[in-house]
């Protein structure tokens, strides 16, 4: 029964988008729009949760619109339901945040119509049951999010980001279109059911995998297709950034899973998993290294999304490799890890983007070099951001650690793989994952430490105010969920089981609810186990006992004084460590080769009173080596053909005639 209701709600969501055009001019209009999206998202969330917990099974619906005489197919199964939970949880929280944050919007008419449309687009992708509706919804999602990225298009950087996003989005849709074409085969069964039944030859199946990787990967931000993401995500208003980074990338992951795990059927060759695995490992490490080099808070978060997409793809790659070797129990672990990380990343990344939105409202700054000391004027925002930062640094007992732990267990679970390449690849990817986890912690010490700690580096940071209650509620709901998913991971794993079973020939992890103390037991209890609840309990009890005993028995006195700083405290906040200086050791260790980072001290000549300057030069290898040549080639070719615009009518006619002759000749020769 839930699918028709769901579609009706999506229609209402679209109508809310239409109302948004009018609401933008009314006082309090944005409250009404965001209130409506909040209510609809909560209902959708509950529907999806009920569907997910009901177990496996598919519900389909054919509606008489879409392609003429063919109709539009919709379907709802456990996999869709899980991603619907992620999307609508993110949507509900972003709407709640926007109830407060949206008041500060300078041009609401550019945000209000597109926000509900964007939500509806993402939901539609998840319930699409044929290639046409899928691609239509996918494009709808892309275009509406593009409009949101362009909300502040007066800034030239945003306009550039929007252009790049548009190009990459169309490229992605093109590859997905081709992938669906191959899946449908010559008979052209364009519904998902027909595609599932249609057996694709191994060579073409590999091509479908590559196309799906390109199409879904470009939307999710897999290196080297990530270039648009760190520009476009931060350009949108912060609650939209949270949705794009936390949720839309997950819709892309859904697209990949749907095509590769579901429509394509069982993987034939082990190297499929190897390719996805290697790509995931590289994406994770490069994403976090790029993030460490950023000074813009929102851009740092966007690059960190790239890292997490890498972690998710590591899990998916492992699952493919296991399935190809018919190791379904291990594949269940890898899939659970990947889906768990999908949920976790959507929670903490939304939280962090909302936090950065609160900072942006309070200070008008995204550049960390102008922030600092915000923990004093904004203690609650700081606490919520800290929880998000700790969760994304994979610190126990929060949720980010659980999914990374599961991924590590999936790497370690069965070393006996028949393929030599996998034997080398899996531990190497494990090392990449370990490196990126450690670097993520560094990245978030930087993000939180420079933004919220220390002394204010600019007057705006000193005069910041705490954000409104709606925004704080939204952030603390997410922070609470981060903690809950961290201490009760077993319940989440049980919730995922229907989706995992659907993709994995019904092989599952053991039921976690019935484990003593709600311990997470991925395989059996003689193998590795983890209990976040006990971790929290132990840390909490020992910390509080220590504090109580010390204050009771020893000393509880505090005296305030100037900072010590080895006897040379300097009142100027300029002497603090900045984002750039914090990342300097990492830049020297990792960046000198990867980013060709060079530092140069420019000394004025003797007698000159100018200060010495430290100049840092950083290159983006992927952009400069991968994209700039392509752009240059396109420009070169088009300027070559530019003269075709200025021909006389005779020459145009000659050109048309020539083209006709060539085509006819081609036809004759081909036959």
């Amino acid at each position: 029964m839930s699918l028709p209701l769901l579609l009706i709600l999506l229609m209402i969501l679209l109508a809310v988008g239409g109302y948004g055009i009018a609401a933008a001019r009314q006082p309090g209009g944005s409250r009404r729009v965001y209130g409506a999206t909040l209510v609809i998202c909560v209902i959708l969330l509950l529907l999806a949760l009920a569907r997910l917990l009901a177990g496996q099974g598919v519900q389909t619906l054919i509606l008489p619109f879409g392609l003429p005489w063919l109709g539009a197919y919709f379907q709802l199964d456990a996999l869709s339901a899980f991603f619907l939970v992620v999307v609508n949880l993110g949507g509900a929280i972003a709407s709640l945040f926007a109830l407060g944050y949206g008041q500060h919007e300078r041009s609401p008419e550019r945000v209000l119509p597109f926000f509900p449309a964007f939500l509806a687009g993402m939901n539609l992708v998840l319930v699409a049951g044929d290639a046409f509706s899928f691609l239509f919804a996918w494009e709808f999602m892309s275009i509406s999010s593009w409009a949101l990225v362009m909300a502040h298009h007066q800034e030239s950087a945003n306009a550039r980001a929007g252009y790049l996003y548009l190009v990459m989005a169309f490229f992605g849709t093109l590859t997905l279109l081709l992938a669906f074409g191959l899946l449908a085969g010559a008979d052209g069964g364009y519904t998902f059911g027909a595609m599932r039944a249609h057996v694709v030859s191994p060579g073409l199946a590999a091509l479908v995998l590559v196309l799906a990787l390109l199409g879904a990967g470009s939307k999710a931000g897999v290196v080297p297709l990530h270039v648009w993401l760190p520009l476009a995500h931060p350009a949108a208003p912060s609650h939209v950034s949270a949705l794009m980074s936390g949720v839309m990338t997950k819709v892309a992951v859904y697209g990949f899973i749907r095509i590769v795990f579901d429509l394509l059927g069982e993987p034939v060759a082990w190297w499929w998993g190897g390719v996805v695995l290697a790509l995931g490992g590289v994406t994770a490490l490069l994403g976090v290294l790029y993030a460490l080099m950023q000074h813009d808070l929102k851009r740092l978060l966007a690059y960190h999304t790239v890292e997490n997409i890498g972690i998710i793809f590591i899990g998916l790659g492992l699952a493919l490799a296991f399935q190809a070797n018919l190791m379904y129990a291990s594949a269940a672990l890898a899939l659970t890890a990947a889906l768990f990380h999908v949920l976790n990343h959507s929670l903490f990344k939304s939280l962090l983007f909302l936090g950065s939105g609160a900072v942006l409202t309070a200070t008008g700054e995204r550049d960390m070099e102008h922030l600092g000391g915000l923990i004093r004027p904004m203690p609650w925002t700081a606490l919520a951001f800290l929880i998000g930062a700790a969760a994304s640094s994979a610190l126990p007992p929060l949720n980010g650690f659980v999914s990374e732990w599961l991924t590590f267990q999936a790497i370690l679970i069965s070393p006996e793989r028949p393929q030599w390449m996998l034997k080398f690849l899996v531990p190497a990817v494990g090392a990449l994952l370990a490196l990126s986890a450690a670097l993520a912690a560094t990245c978030f010490v930087k993000a939180f430490g420079i933004t919220f700690l220390g002394r204010p580096r600019s007057p705006v940071a000193a005069q910041a105010r705490e954000t409104d209650l709606y925004s704080l509620t939204a952030m603390f709901i997410l922070a609470g969920l981060c903690l809950l998913a961290g201490i009760l991971p077993g319940l989440v794993v049980d919730g995922l089981s229907a989706a995992v079973g659907q993709l994995n020939g019904s092989a599952l992890l053991p039921v976690q609810r019935s484990q003593p103390w709600l311990t997470l037991v991925p395989v059996t209890d003689v193998k590795s186990t983890y209990n976040g609840l006990l971790m929290l309990l132990f840390i909490g009890v020992s910390g509080f006992t220590a504090a109580w005993l010390i204050h009771r028995l020893a000393s509880g006195r505090v005296r305030r004084g100037p900072a010590w700083d080895c006897g040379f405290p300097e009142p100027s906040p300029m002497t603090q460590y900045t984002a750039g200086s914090f990342a300097q050791p990492i830049r020297r260790v990792f960046g000198s080769i990867l980013f060709q980072a060079r530092e140069r001290v420019v000394m004025p000549p003797p007698g000159d009173l100018r200060p010495a300057r430290l100049e840092v030069e950083i290159h983006d290898p992927i952009w400069e080596r991968g994209y700039v040549p392509v752009v240059n080639a396109v420009v070169a070719v088009s300027s070559r053909f530019n003269y075709l615009q200025y021909l006389t009518i005779r020459r145009y006619l000659g050109l048309v005639f020539g083209a006709l002759v060539v085509l006819l000749l081609g036809m004759v020769l081909w036959r």
């Binding site: 370690l412 370990a434 010490v445 939180f448 590795s528 209990n531 000393s555 305030r560």
Partner: protein
Amino acid sequence: MALMADYLVQGCQMALMLLLAPLLTGWIRWVKARLLRRRGPSILQPYRDLLKLLRKEVVLADSASWLFRVAPYLIFSALWVGASLVPTFASGLPFSWAADLIAIVALLGTARFFLALAGLDVGTSFGGIGSSREMMIASLAEPAMLMMVFTLSLLAGTTELSSVARFMSTADVGLRVSLALSLLALIMVAIAENARIPVDNPATHLELTMVHEAMVLEYSGRHLALIELSSSLKLLLYFSLIGCIFAPWGMATAGSTPGAYLYGTAIYMAKLALGGFLLALFETSIAKMRVFRVDEFLGAALMLGLLGALLLFVSRGL
């Protein structure tokens, strides 16, 4: 009844960790002083320092926030819990299933995360330099340690420490290249993570190369006492870890007689004394390296760890 005994053993382990940590630090300092032909303070000096610091008032910088005051308790409890989960005198502790080796590594990460934030909190240049370098060191040391975990897990089939210790004390481990590589990697990581020479100098102040001490420069009174105790606990944790994985002899098993537990404790103390002596000897015989040589040192540890794991993926016999 057996359950009560188990919990008692776990409680003993927690208390033992807390009691032994300053003693180990004092022992290493004493041996170092003797090797330098100084008389050196008593082994019990760290206890006296801690008591003195605990009774003093805290002088808090004007710009310090609540995080600065909460961090010492968090760091202390994370490290204490971590140290208590490593089998020392007995394997099969009742809560050993609550956190495996990966979780212990992550707990160390939690402590480090908050320590680095505390270093940035006051907004001084020294705090920043310490935090930034500590995180640089950690971002290489932590993966190196996880590679060691990989190797162990491939051999023992689990990442849970009690089972690993039980497995390592059986005869079918044998001499393996991969284990030797992991041991080397773990020792290198331990030296770096505990701010020992040649990576950092625990006895220095006012030196531009200091890392750990620069981070905690603003702490005083009871906060400093907790930070010092946490550092000692961390050192003890690494010693116990090396002992429990690579020298798991003499450990009592779950449900042993009290005599076996006492024997295990004595053996454990002997291991600590020997380890402390070796560390002191190593530290007095080597000079501190430049901070930007540390990445080569730890990069080598990471590569050794990865090599150990790779060897096992290729052949289980190595």
